[in-house]
């Protein structure tokens, strides 16, 4: 339903409308609101709590200038038992305690600027297992889905995911120009540029209430859709899906965040909502604090999709590879230095003579077309399965 409203928007735009970049003049408000993010594991697995401040919407992306709150953080049970969180720097704290799920807990934060914050009392929720993850290919692309089942404690669910995929450069090559040797050599594994891995960040928050379905059985909930031809499925694709059970308040919080992220600006879009959470400033309870802390367990499943499983998969060029060709002229050995020294071009296709062991020259191509490390890393992630 939401998606269709977006399509209405797109339709209206195509009819006559338009979407233009917008830069309103906003008073440079020095708003500095504490942001608390965390889903602390109650079974002892190390989990992170992140503290940060909101930044001006136009502030530059220089991460060195971002200031993080520092101070002391601990979880407190109703009986008064305290579980301090260890600081990892840059506002990040680690929590690693196995605590009883029956109790109620609250988080206390004492920042070095003299403020203190308390969360509401939170009851941990154990997240049910993910029953199944899978994918299905349709005409429009591939849909990744998940199946799970709620229970009497876990009714509201939040799913988030992280994507990683392997890809090849537009013109893969096993060679590289070695500036020290001033010649072209076969690339060793750690310097190869033809196959890389890329992580994608996304803002997607998928929320569902299991009691909407019979027996709280959430069957084939769509998690992600990859349109036909997308680069992500050209070699091998991996998605790590996290499932979190939430209480009602957390579900409301994430729903507001999702709405504030996804649903704004279309014709029938709801009004933006001010986001709050379950944490208050002790000194000034009206002061805004963003964040909803939850306690419980996170269930994760990883799914791999290889290109063999979804063939045929027409490959649609990514914009970075626009106009990529290997030039016709052969660069001979004596021309290597002048051709490849600057780094703008790399050897692409080797030219062999009959019975030669080494190539006699190369056809060259722009680096952006041959070097996948410009867009990813050539280091295979630890979890990669092949």
């Amino acid at each position: 339903m939401k998606r269709n409203i977006h399509i209405i928007l797109v339709l209206l735009l195509l009819m006559a409308g338009c979407r233009e970049p917008y830069d309103p003049e906003i008073e440079p408000t020095d708003i500095k609101v504490l942001v608390v993010e965390g889903y602390l594991d109650t079974e002892g697995l190390p989990s992170l709590l992140k503290l940060s401040y909101t930044r001006n919407i136009h502030s530059d992306e220089d991460s060195n200038q971002i200031s993080f709150p520092s101070g002391e953080v601990f979880l407190e049970s109703e009986e008064g038992e305290q579980f301090p969180l260890g600081s990892l720097g840059e506002g990040t704290f680690e929590f690693a305690y196995d605590i009883p799920e029956e109790g109620n807990y609250r988080l206390k934060i004492f920042t070095t600027d003299g403020n203190s914050y308390s969360s509401e009392w939170i009851k941990p929720i154990l997240t049910p297992e993910i029953i199944d993850v899978g994918f299905e290919k349709y005409e429009e692309g591939v849909e990744v889905y998940l199946t799970t089942k709620g229970d009497e404690n876990a009714d509201n669910f939040l799913w988030t995911f992280e994507e990683t995929y392997a890809f090849r450069s537009k013109i893969p090559t096993a060679y590289r120009y070695d500036p020290d040797l001033k010649t072209v050599v076969l690339a060793t594994n750690d310097l190869r540029t033809d196959l890389c891995y890329r992580e994608l960040s996304n803002a997607d928050l998928i929320l569902e209430i299991s009691s909407r379905f019979e027996d709280q059985f959430v069957f084939r909930q769509t998690i992600n859709k990859i349109p036909t031809g997308d680069e992500r499925l050209t070699v091998r694709y991996s998605i790590l899906i996290s499932q979190k059970a939430l209480d009602k308040g957390a579900s409301d919080f994430w729903e507001i965040m999702r709405k504030n992220t996804d649903d704004l600006g279309s014709i029938f879009s709801p009004l933006p909502s001010n986001i709050g959470g379950n944490i208050k400033n002790d000194q000034n309870p009206n002061a805004p604090v963003v964040g909803y802390l939850s306690l419980g367990t996170v269930k994760q499943r990883r799914l791999f999709i290889g290109f063999q499983e979804i063939l045929p998969w027409p490959r649609i060029d990514v914009p970075e590879y626009f106009g990529c060709i290997a030039e016709q002229d052969t660069i001979l050995v004596e021309e290597y230095e002048s051709a490849f020294m600057s780094g703008g071009y790399t050897p692409a296709i080797p030219i062999f003579c009959e019975n030669c062991y080494d190539p006699i020259g190369f056809r060259k191509a722009e680096r952006r077309c041959t070097d996948c490390t410009l867009r990813g890393t050539n280091v295979k992630p630890d979890f990669w399965d092949e």
Binding site: L13, Y22, T29, V33, K248, I256, L271
Partner: protein, 912 residues
């Protein structure tokens, strides 16, 4: 250009001549490229004259003339200019055309007066149609009541074209400016000093007629006047000009369909609601919505009536077109200040769209063919006593989508709508009339094969009008109004759903109007509504679907109002209208209602139980009075002041979390926690006519307060919420403003200039609310647009070519902007400012249109016209909204405009 100049000249001449004598036969029409023979044939057909001439004398004459109510002699002078021909007219209306010298005939100087005297004895009831204006009617008998110096003139004003009574025509005597408007049966009653008078009669925005009378005693004068939309310019004291000053109601705006038709249209569709938006004090939050806001009120606070039927969704295609077919509408009135006592149930305004009934003379029709839509209507008599009108519209905008499919990713997209109106009027006898109006509309749209939206209006109403006697009229109406919408989602067979909402109201009303006494018009009546709402049901769709049935309990209520009002003419200068309504509202079982901790915020955690009510049991009762008071004091012939104070109550609320009316907004009845909205408005106005009534000026100042408005807490859920009371915030509102309107109704250049300064503010009330928006301070409502300027100018290049320009400026609407950002769940997220703390850029739009009329031959198959123009001539991209989206983890701001390009349109209209 020369022709235009000539036309103007003729107009000017006829104007002057007219003021000297009104008793000559006049000509109106276009004579383009005609031979003299053809001209003669036409003139002979339209006038009592007969021509005598030699064919050889006139062989070379070609006539290119356009005249408007011009004396025949002036026309002939022009025709024979430089031809060497001359003419003379004898007393038998024979015109002798001769070469060189004039044929000598005896031509008495008082010829026209004699003719008038000959007519003196004509029966006043005879209708000579257009020639009535030159006749002297003797009204009444001098012996009836000799001691009284005044007498009462009454009668019925009907349309020449259809024979139907004309509602709201102004009957006027110009010396003392005694005037009255006809009621909806075309009746008028005027008390005048005995003696000779010229009586003027004019319908709104239409043609003006005059009658010479000699009033000797009480009597009847029935008049037929033209209601043609083609207004041929004369020296006009328009009805509006008079009502501007004299009308008792304030804050009432009438628009004729002719006015609306002259406005530049979007996609060529004549749109009644767009006409309403040119009025001061009326604005809209965006272009893709015809939901409108009146004097700082929300869109659901407007009572939109077609006849007696309430239209719950007045738009098609999510707001691009209004639900009203202009061919079956006779007029539109918007009450925004003093709301007449016979209306109630909404807080802000009443938009009364008057249905049209069929003509009585013959079967006729009209229609239009545009780029996206077309319409057709048929009307006429069924038998002598019964008339009908049937109108329909449909769209074929699918082709536009098909065209887009190649470009974009729309498979199987579809937009379609239609509406049908059927109105029947039956005259049982001259004391009893039956009227039926029926309206049905349906919208269907989808943008991919997965999800289909639809909504539907159905309104039926049957009325009986009875005249108990000369002074008491009663109207009894029964009807039903229905509205429903639905969404069918088939994205995945397992999750396929069918969601629907519907509202039904059954109503009965009895309205009485009594004019027993000259200085009092009494109105009283009773109005009962039975509401029944299905607030939402979500069902599995298809056999595989595992979606669970989710249904909100049906809501039932009844609302009964009684009212009484009196329009009291204290003296010539002062009139007062006062009255009141008493509204009784009862929410009925079966219903289960949550119970909450008393004096605590209504939240899930404060639920202490649930109470179930059986069928027919009263769940909650609200009742209270509404007051309506207004007064007018005439300062002099040209100016008056008016005061008014109203209070209103509203038991039905639109739940909407978006700023525009969206197709999925549902209605909710007042319950123990969502209380009836109440409010009041006080206003003062000053009205003045300038430059011999050619310009009307008015200004009104108002202040409104509103209680129990609904705003929503952050993240409120509206669809299928079993405890919606937990997500709404009880709010107070206030609105104030000043409106200026300058209007020119006459001349080649017509138009209005309206400027409004207005504010509309909300505040979370002091009741225990779960959240206080902006810390409980007043904040701008979604439609708080302080400055609003509308200019509508109409220039008549000739009788056939009419151009219109429309300028629209308003302050950008308030918006909640992201002011800072933070990282959360792997992406950059936005943190929003206080509610409505910023504004989108100002809105400015210019539209232009040309209406091209066909020729004015009386006898031809169909009268056709073209209208074409450009909407948003400057192509300005007025932002509808601004928003931020994270793209690849970075935040980017965008502004969205709906009509960012000039949109040309063309429509062919016909009438037969």
């Amino acid at each position: 250009m020369k022709k235009i100049y000539f036309t103007l000249l003729i107009l000017f001449i006829s104007w002057n001549v007219q003021s000297q004598t009104n008793q000559t036969v006049r000509l109106t029409g276009m004579y383009l490229g005609m031979s003299f023979d053809a001209f003669v044939e036409k003139v002979q057909a339209e006038t009592p004259y007969t021509f005598y001439y030699k064919k050889v004398d006139v062989a070379d004459i070609q006539i290119n003339l356009q005249v408007s109510d011009t004396e025949v002699r002036l026309v002939l002078d022009e025709v024979f200019l430089n031809t060497g021909l001359t003419y003379s007219i004898d007393r038998s209306n024979r015109i002798w055309v001769t070469k060189g010298s004039r044929l000598l005939i005896d031509f008495p100087s008082e010829y026209f007066n004699i003719q008038a005297r000959q007519d003196l004895l004509a029966n006043a009831g005879d209708s000579l149609g257009e020639f009535d204006k030159n006749k002297l009617f003797v009204i009444g008998k001098a012996t009836d009541n000799p001691e009284s110096s005044t007498a009462t003139l009454s009668g019925v004003v009907t349309s020449i074209e259809s024979g139907n009574p004309m509602n709201g025509a102004i009957v006027l005597e110009k010396i003392d400016f005694t005037q009255v408007a006809t009621d909806r049966n075309g009746k008028y009653r005027l008390t005048l000093p005995k003696g000779r008078h010229t009586i003027w009669v004019q319908n709104i925005g239409g043609f003006q007629e005059q009658r010479q009378i000699d009033l000797k005693g009480d009597g009847v004068l029935n008049m037929s006047i033209e209601e043609t939309i083609l207004s041929l310019d004369e020296v006009i004291v328009s009805s509006g000009a008079l009502s501007n000053i004299n009308k008792l109601d304030m804050g009432v705006q009438s628009i004729s369909i002719a006015d609306v038709k002259r406005l530049p249209a979007v996609m060529g569709e004549v749109d009644v609601l767009r006409g309403v938006l040119t009025l001061p004090g009326v604005n809209t939050v965006g272009e893709a919505t015809t939901g409108f806001n009146v004097r700082g009120g929300a869109a659901d606070q407007n009572l939109i009536l077609y006849g007696n039927s309430t239209i719950f969704n007045p738009t098609h295609a999510f707001g691009f077109f209004s639900a009203f077919n202009a061919d079956v509408v006779s007029g539109v009135e918007l009450y925004k200040g003093s709301i007449p006592v016979n209306y109630g149930g909404r807080l802000s305004s009443v938009l009364q769209v008057d249905p049209k009934y069929g003509r009585k003379d013959k079967i006729g029709g009209s229609g239009g063919i545009g780029i996206m839509t077309s319409r057709l209507s048929l009307e006429g008599p069924i038998d002598e006593k019964t008339t009908f009108i049937l109108g329909g519209r449909t769209t074929y905008s699918d082709w536009a989508l098909k065209f887009l499919e190649d470009e974009a990713d729309f498979n199987d997209s579809k937009i379609s709508f239609y509406d049908i109106n059927a109105n029947i009027q039956h005259e049982i006898n001259d004391k009893n009339f039956i009227e039926f109006t029926g309206y049905i509309s349906k919208d269907d749209f989808r943008f991919d094969p997965d999800t289909t939206y639809f909504y539907q209006n159905l309104n039926l109403s049957l009325g009986w009008r009875h005249f108990f006697n000369d002074h008491l009229e009663g109207r009894f109406t029964i009807g039903t109004d229905q509205y429903n919408f639905g969404i069918i989602g088939q994205d995945n067979p397992l999750n396929s759903f069918d969601y629907s909402f519907d509202i039904n109201q059954l109503y009965m009303r009895a309205d009485f109007e009594s004019r027993r006494n000259e200085s009092h018009i009494l109105k009283y009546g009773i109005h009962a509504i039975q509401y029944s709402i299905n607030p939402g049901i979500n069902q599995p769709y298809g056999e595989e679907s595992i979606v669970l049935l989710d249904e909100l309990e049906e809501e039932n209520a009844r609302e009964i109002s009684v009212y009484f009002g009196d329009e009291f003419t204290v003296n010539e200068k002062l009139s007062v209208s006062y009255g009141g309504r008493y509204m009784f509202y009862q929410l009925l079982g079966p219903l289960s209602i949550n119970e909450y901790v008393e004096d605590a915020p209504i939240t899930e955690s404060n639920v202490i139980g649930e109470k179930t009510y059986e069928r027919g049991k009263s769940v909650k009762t609200y009742h209270g009075p509404e007051f309506r008071i207004s007064a007018r004091y005439i300062l002099d012939n040209r100016s008056s002041i008016k005061l008014g104070f109203n209070t209103m109550r509203q038991n039905i609320h639109l739940l909407s979390n978006s700023s525009a009316i969206s197709p999925t907004d549902s209605w909710k009845l007042s319950d123990p926690y969502i209380k009836p909205q109440t409010g009041g408005q006080a206003s003062v106005g000053y009205y003045r006519n300038l430059l011999n009534n050619k310009l009307e000026f008015s200004t009104e100042v108002y202040y409104r307060y509103m209680n129990n408005l609904l705003d929503y807490r952050s993240g409120a859920k509206i669809v299928l919420n079993h405890s919606v009371e937990q997500d709404v915030l009880n709010s107070k509102g206030k609105a104030y403003g000043v409106e200026f309107l300058l209007k020119k109704n006459t001349g080649v250049l017509k138009g209005t200039l309206a400027y409004t300064y207005a504010r509309s503010l909300l505040k979370t009330s002091d009741e225990p609310n779960v959240e206080k928006i902006n810390n409980g301070e007043f904040y701008s409502s979604n439609f708080d647009q302080p400055h609003h300027l509308v200019l509508v100018a109409n220039y008549e290049l000739s009788k056939r070519i009419n151009t219109s320009l429309n300028l629209n400026y308003s302050t950008g609407r308030p918006i909640t902007l992201p002011i800072s950002k933070f990282d959360y769940a792997g992406s950059e997220r936005v943190y929003f400012s206080e509610r409505n703390a910023y504004r989108i850029p100002d809105y400015f739009r210019m539209d232009f249109s040309v209406n091209l009329e066909g020729n004015h031959k009386v006898k031809k198959l169909a009268h056709a016209s073209w209208s074409f123009g450009v909407y948003n001539l400057l192509g300005r991209s007025n932002p509808y909204s601004v928003y931020y989206v994270p793209e690849g983890g970075k935040l980017r701001g965008y502004q969205l405009s709906i009509f960012a390009k000039p949109i040309p349109f063309i429509t062919y209209n016909f009438r037969f």
